[in-house]
Symmetry: C2
DNA sequence: CGGGGATTTTTTGTCGACAATTAAAGGTTT
DNA sequence: AAACCTTTAATTGTCGACAAAAAATCCCCG
C-alpha cells in the first residue's frame, strides 16, 4: 500500500507511486488537462501498474497532476462510468475490482462485440491498416520475449482496441474499449504475473483471416482466442486463491 | 423556448417546462436523488417531452429538483456520458442533438447489439417474461390507437430496452439502453410527430420467433425492423428540412 | 495479547462566493 | 429594416472553507 511512512497518531496519506512524475503542463485547456489525467490513469491500469483495489484519493491526484479537486472529481466520475474506477460514498475511489460474476458476463459481451466489429473491420481496413496491425504484433512479440509484463499487457490489449478503431463505428469502438479495459482488470486480478494472456499466434491468425476477406474465419479464431483466455483464467483461478489474498493485502475491500 | 417572460434588459432565465413539478423528496440519500433526477430527464427525453437542443441550465435544475449544483453537475456529466445531453464549455447543457453522420453509425451499432442480445434472450427468457412482453405490446398498441405520441414513443423504445434486460448481460443491456436513447433523439429530431416509429406487428413477430426458439428468425425480423426504421428516417428527412428549422427555432445551436 | 475506545488525521461531499464567459434585450447607426 | 454596439443578467467553472465520514494509530483494560 502506497501510504506514507507511519509517523504517529492519525491516518497516513495515500499516494499511488505508479502515478508519480506527472508534470503539469503550463497553460493547458481544462479539457486537455482532463483528458491527460484520464489517459494517464487508464494507461497505468491497462499496463497493470495500477492494480485493482489501489486507492486514488482526490488530494493525491490534485498534487500529482497539479490540478484542483473539481477537475479530479470529474475525471474520477468519468473513470467510474467506464468501470475503470469504483466510487464509494465518503470513501476514496479505488481502481475497480471485478467480481467473479462479472467475468463471464464481460467475456460474453466481449465476444459479441468483437464478433460485431470484425465484419466492419474487414469492410473498412486498408492495406496500410493491416501493415500497421502487423507492426503492432511484432512489438507485442518483442515485449513478450523481454518479459516486460506491463508493456506487453498494454500491447496485447491494444491489438483488440485497434480492431475497435478499425470498425469505424465510434459507439462499438467505445464499448469495446470499455470491455477490454475491464478485462484487463480481470486479468490483473485473477492471473499471476508472467502468464501469457494473449499469445502472438492468435492475433496473427485473426489478422490473416481478415486480410484474406474471411470474416467468418476471423470471427471463429477470435472467438476461440477469447474463450481460451477466459478458460485460462478459470483454470488459474483455483491455484491463485492464496496469492489472491496476498495480492489484495488484508482487506483492500473491507 | 422556455425562457421567462421578457422583463427588460438582460438575459432571460431558461426554465424547461417539461421538467416542472419535480417535488423534492424529504430525507433522501444523495445517490437516490441523483438517480431520480437522472431518470426524470431520461424519461422525458425518451417520451420526446424534452426535445433535442433544449437547454438545461444548472440553476434551473437546482430549483426544479431542489438540490445543489454539485449534484446537478454530476447528473449532467452522467447524462453526457450516456450521450443524452451535450455539455459545452461555458455554455448550458442541452439535450443532445445527433448529427446526420451519427444516424447510420447508431443504427449499425444497434443492429449489432440487438443481434447479439437476441440469442441470450432466447436462452434466458421464461414463459412469464414472454407474457410480460406481450402485455407490453398491448399497451404499446393501445397508446398508438390513442395517438398518445409521447407515451407511445416511450413504450416503443421500452420493448427494445426490455430485450436488453432479458439478455441478463448487464454490459450489453447498458450499451443497448444508451443506443436506444440516442435513437430516440434521432427520431425526435428527424421525424415529425405523428409518424409511426415502431409498428406493432414488427415487435410481435420478433417475440413470436423468440418464443418459438427461432433465434435466426428473430434476428432477421428485428434486423429488418431496424433497417425499416432507419430507411423511414431517411425518406422523411428530405421532407422535413423546413419543419426541422421550425423545430429548432432560430438557432438552438449558434 | 487482543479488543475496544479515544485521538488524530485524511478524505469526501457540499456550499457559497467570485470571476469569466455567454446570451438576450434595448438602443444607435447605416 | 438590418447590423452593430452597449447594457444587463444568466450561467458556468473554480476555489476555499467547513462539516461529516472514514481510516489509522495509540493507549488502556481485562
Amino acid at each position: 500500500m502506497n501510504a506514507t511512512a507511519p509517523k504517529g497518531r492519525g491516518r497516513p496519506k495515500v499516494r499511488p507511486q505508479a502515478l508519480a512524475g506527472q508534470a503539469p503542463a503550463a497553460r493547458e485547456k481544462p479539457a486537455d488537462k482532463e483528458q491527460r489525467i484520464y489517459a494517464a490513469i487508464v494507461d497505468r491500469v491497462m499496463e497493470q501498474r495500477l492494480k485493482p483495489g489501489t486507492r486514488l484519493p482526490e488530494a493525491a491526484l490534485c498534487e500529482l497532476f497539479g490540478v484542483g479537486r473539481t477537475l479530479v472529481q470529474k475525471v474520477l466520475q468519468r473513470l467510474a462510468h467506464d468501470h475503470i474506477v469504483e466510487l464509494r460514498p465518503n470513501r476514496s475511489a479505488i481502481v475497480a475490482m471485478p467480481s467473479r460474476e462479472d467475468v463471464g458476463k464481460l467475456f460474453e459481451a466481449r465476444r459479441a462485440l468483437e464478433a460485431a466489429v470484425l465484419p466492419l473491420v474487414a469492410a473498412h481496413a486498408s492495406r496500410a491498416d493491416y501493415a500497421s496491425l502487423r507492426r503492432q504484433l511484432r512489438k507485442e512479440r518483442d515485449a513478450m520475449h523481454r518479459y516486460a509484463q506491463t508493456e506487453w499487457a498494454g500491447l496485447a490489449s491494444a491489438f483488440h482496441l485497434r480492431l475497435g478503431e478499425l470498425s469505424r463505428n465510434p459507439m462499438l469502438h467505445r464499448y469495446l474499449a470499455e470491455i477490454i479495459s475491464r478485462c484487463c482488470l480481470v486479468v490483473a486480478l485473477f492471473q499471476p504475473p508472467g502468464n501469457a494472456t494473449c499469445e502472438h499466434d492468435e492475433h496473427g491468425r485473426v489478422v490473416d483471416c481478415l486480410e484474406a476477406g474471411d470474416v467468418a474465419g476471423a470471427q471463429r479464431e477470435n472467438d476461440r482466442h477469447l474463450r481460451d483466455l477466459e478458460a485460462h483464467l478459470q483454470l488459474v483461478e483455483e491455484d491463485t486463491d492464496l496469492s489472491l489474498a496476498d495480492m489484495l493485502g488484508l482487506s483492500a475491500r473491507s
